[in-house]
């Protein structure tokens, strides 16, 4: 065997093929992005262990992730919040984790996306399972997993082909194969879903500009929301009693140790907002939550500077509007004395 020769050939071909692959995807408009995975979330969650009463945590679904911008928040408060929101998730498992597994007694902003907040307490339901998976990962992560993540960050930041996007935008081998459709043995009724956010290492997330500039792109995402709304309409109704009881119990514990909680309802628009108003009407859900929890609460509809914001894909704000929303929201909250724990305030 001429193994030295084989190794040289293999090395040369590997370098050529991977370089070509990277250049190809860059020519298609892709650029390096970070993956919003459990490991990235866990890095932020670990910061809670040393957070003081002056610190602030953000929890909720993707609306908190997209709509609250960390730079603007920091500019207004002097504190950079810890972003723990999780897409497609109820905030309850993460709130429960922080309340019961840490001594944190600062401020927690809980984003209320009614369809998710009031959805369920069933551990197997997706709005619960997704955030719980992150919590479990954090609790069980090994030193090897931590070092894998830290080593992967520079690669993710520099190589476009390492994108972990899924669905139509996915370019991993598994995702590329998943796009091949032969016959119609099983019909997948879910419309194609584009990844429309970009996340930073501290989980500051912004909407991709294409979602704002390309209506077709935005509409494809709206179709996905409509698909989920139809699915939700045919599924079990919101479980307001269980979710409220779960939240209020943890809230009591958190308040008892001096923690400060703020509720925020971020904007939605178009058919999605119409659907939300029908399925989880404000008076019955949000207003009752605010009343029973007795917390500072901010609904975008109640403020002139926020109520007319439009979401390009009906559920999240563009990067520009998110910056505006964050700045205005924090101003409102400060004026209202919402940051009762903030010593510098």
């Amino acid at each position: 065997m001429q193994l030295k020769q084989t190794l040289i050939i293999a090395f040369a071909l590997s370098v050529i093929s991977i370089t070509a692959w990277e250049l190809f995807w860059r020519s298609q408009g892709l650029y390096p992005t970070l993956d919003d995975n459990e490991a990235l979330w866990a890095m932020q969650r670990s910061r809670v262990e040393t957070a003081t009463s002056n610190d602030m945590l953000l929890m909720g679904s993707s609306r908190v992730l997209f709509d609250i911008q960390l730079n603007e928040w920091e500019a207004q408060t002097g504190i950079r919040p810890i972003q723990l929101a999780s897409v497609g998730s109820s905030p309850l498992p993460i709130f429960h984790d922080v309340v019961n597994n840490t001594k944190f007694n600062g401020t927690i902003l809980v984003g209320v996306t009614p369809g998710l907040f009031f959805s369920t307490t069933s551990p197997k339901a997706q709005p619960w399972q997704w955030p719980q998976t992150k919590v479990d990962y954090y609790k069980k992560r090994t030193y090897a997993q931590i070092s894998n993540h830290l080593l992967s960050l520079p690669l993710q930041k520099n190589l476009a082909f390492l994108s972990d996007d899924q669905g139509v935008d996915g370019i991993k081998l598994k995702e590329l194969l998943g796009k091949i459709n032969v016959g119609n043995r099983v019909i997948d009724s879910m419309p194609p879903f584009h990844e429309f956010g970009e996340i930073a290492q501290d989980r500051n997330n912004v909407m991709k500009q294409i979602t704002v500039t390309d209506t077709a792109y935005a509409n494809s995402i709206i179709k996905v929301w409509q698909f989920f709304m139809k699915k939700a309409a045919s599924g079990p109704p919101p479980d307001k009693i269980s979710t409220m009881a779960f939240f209020l119990k943890d809230l009591k514990t958190f308040k008892a140790r001096g923690g400060n909680t703020i509720l925020v309802r971020s904007p939605s628009s178009g058919s999605l907002r119409f659907g939300e108003n029908m399925g989880v009407p404000r008076v019955k859900f949000w207003d009752d939550l605010v009343k029973q929890s007795n917390l500072k609460a901010y609904h975008f509809e109640d403020y002139d500077q926020l109520k007319d914001l439009k979401c390009p894909e009906e559920s999240h704000l563009s990067a520009k509007d998110a910056r505006y929303f964050t700045t205005e929201l924090v101003k409102i909250m400060k004026a209202d004395g919402a940051f009762s724990n903030l010593k510098t305030n």
Binding site: M1, Q2, L3, K4, Q5, T6, L7, I8, I9, A10, F11, A12, L13, S14, S17, I18, W21, T142, Y143, A144, Q145, S147, N148, L151, S152, L155, F161, L162, D164, I171, K172, L173, K174, L177, I180, N181, V182, G183, N184, R185, V186, D188
Partner: protein, 471 residues
């Protein structure tokens, strides 16, 4: 630490750099390898390294005593001590909840209403592998089949050697400890071949098992409904491919990494899906475990020395315990029982209806064996019997109205991969990757190597754990 992870790449580079540097003499290199092995294990769960230390300490002392003690009763007691510690760990960490569940079920059938408290104990990674490895040393010492390890360092490294620590191959003392006595250094060709095997193993794991097959398996085996004939078969065939690529991939990586250090580990898989019957299968699948079970269980139980009934009983018991070794659940015991039944039926066939295997009936026999193996995989993969029976029903066309959950492409993909896997095993059954590589032009081999590396890179494994780690 997983082989398919960035940390491991960095870890291996550091270990190789230190190993081939002039910083250490041979003893220093062995110390470095031992320390690295503890780091390799400890990065998963540091406190569980203590189990390794206890196992190492107990078997070192036992081996030392067995080497000098002539009193048979005392020798037996020393052996018993080692067995109790090793099997005690295994029983506590792996089988405690299983035993407790069964105890609770039995007690409650008599109306006691006993409520057990599952301890939810973490299963130390690879505990079944390293306990079997250390036990083999002690048993061999007891039977005077092997020499006592010369130094504690050699023995500790034998128990903990990181390439094969968590998922084998399970190596006998005589095959590994003796390699530590003299300085080992891979030749350039050995080093490059080791690197090739590491790439091949990672390709099997990351691309074949995790990327191409695992989703189909998970979809089929987590479906909470009765499935269609095709879906059940394709899910099971996909699992047969997944578990082979996953486990053989690990073994290939382990052999390759050890070779890069100049250490030779035994083969663990020899194209098992082209086996001609079940005796042949167990000489080709997880070879180091099946030979362990043969030498330390089947033969001590009497083997074929005490008549047919005793032989078949020993065979069945060995396979049942082999099943239990894989996991603390009745489904694994049924898996072992099915293999035991197959082996008994095969021996009966050889005795009463012998026939000569030719090239023509050989292919048919291999295909029949592979099909029967797939039936057993259902019990291995299903989390509960209900799922297993539903799958078996669907595979035997008893559920013609079963649900279709796999797309045509999934079926096509699995069909092609498993078809090629079977054909590949058939043509490779009497040769090896090394022999084929020797006949291959460097350009072709280099291109294959690069293609594997490229596919690993674009598959970007998410660092999924090897299936056999849980055993």
């Amino acid at each position: 630490m997983l082989f398919n992870s960035l940390s491991f790449i960095v870890f291996l580079i550091i270990v190789l750099a230190l190993y081939y540097s002039k910083l250490f003499n041979w003893t220093g290199k062995k110390r470095m390898l031992l320390f690295a092995s503890y780091v390799f294990y400890g990065l998963w769960n540091p406190p569980l390294v203590i189990l390794l230390w206890i196992s190492t300490g107990v078997d070192w002392i036992t081996g030392k005593k067995l080497a000098t003690e002539e009193n048979q009763r005392k020798r037996k007691l020393w052996l018993l001590l080692s067995m109790c510690v090793n099997l005690g760990f295994l029983g506590f960490f792996k089988y405690r909840d299983f035993l407790l569940d069964n105890f609770t079920t039995v007690v409650n059938t008599y109306g006691y209403g006993y409520q057990s408290q599952p301890m939810d104990i973490i299963l130390p990674m690879g505990i079944s592998f390293y306990t079997f490895q250390t036990m083999s040393y002690t048993i061999d010492m007891y039977l005077k089949r092997t020499e006592r390890a010369k130094t504690f360092l050699d023995f500790a490294l034998y128990v903990t050697f990181f390439p094969q620590l968590v998922a084998g191959p399970i190596v006998r003392a005589g095959d590994l400890i003796t390699q530590f006595y003299e300085e080992k250094k891979a030749t350039v060709n050995q080093f490059i071949w080791g690197l090739f095997l590491l790439t091949l193993g990672l390709f099997q794991k990351v691309v074949m098992a995790d990327t191409l097959l695992s989703d189909t398996v998970d979809k089929v085996y987590s479906a909470d409904k009765v499935l269609n004939f095709w879906d059940a078969w394709m899910g099971t065939l996909a699992f047969s491919g997944q578990i082979f690529f996953d486990f053989a991939g690990y073994s290939t990586c382990a052999i390759g990494i050890a070779l890069m250090l100049g250490i030779i580990l035994p083969d663990n898989f020899k194209y098992p899906y082209a086996s001609l019957g079940f005796s042949d299968l167990w000489k080709r699948w997880h070879i180091t475990l099946s030979s362990w079970l043969r030498d330390y269980l089947y033969i001590p139980l009497g083997g074929n020395r005490h008549g047919i009934v005793r032989m078949y009983s020993a065979l069945m018991l060995t396979m049942l315990l082999g099943g239990l070794w894989h996991g603390a659940a009745w489904t694994f015991i049924v898996w072992g029982g099915l293999h035991g039944t197959y082996l008994i039926l095969e021996r009966l066939q050889r005795h009463y209806i012998p026939f000569k295997i030719t090239a023509w009936n050989g292919m048919f026999l291999a295909f029949t064996t592979f099909t029967c193996v797939n039936i057993t995989w259902v019990f291995f993969r299903a989390k509960e019997f209900k799922t297993a029976w539903n799958m078996i029903g669907s595979m035997f066309y008893l559920n013609p109205e079963g649900a279709k959950i796999l797309g045509s492409f999934d079926i096509l993909k699995v069909g092609i991969i498993i078809g090629l896997l079977f054909i590949c095993h058939w043509f490779m059954r009497n040769t090896s990757v090394e022999a084929v590589s020797k006949k291959t032009h460097p350009w072709a081999l280099g291109a294959v190597w690069a293609a594997m590396f490229f596919l690993i890179a674009i598959a970007q494994g998410s660092g999924e754990q090897f299936i056999y780690f849980q055993f």
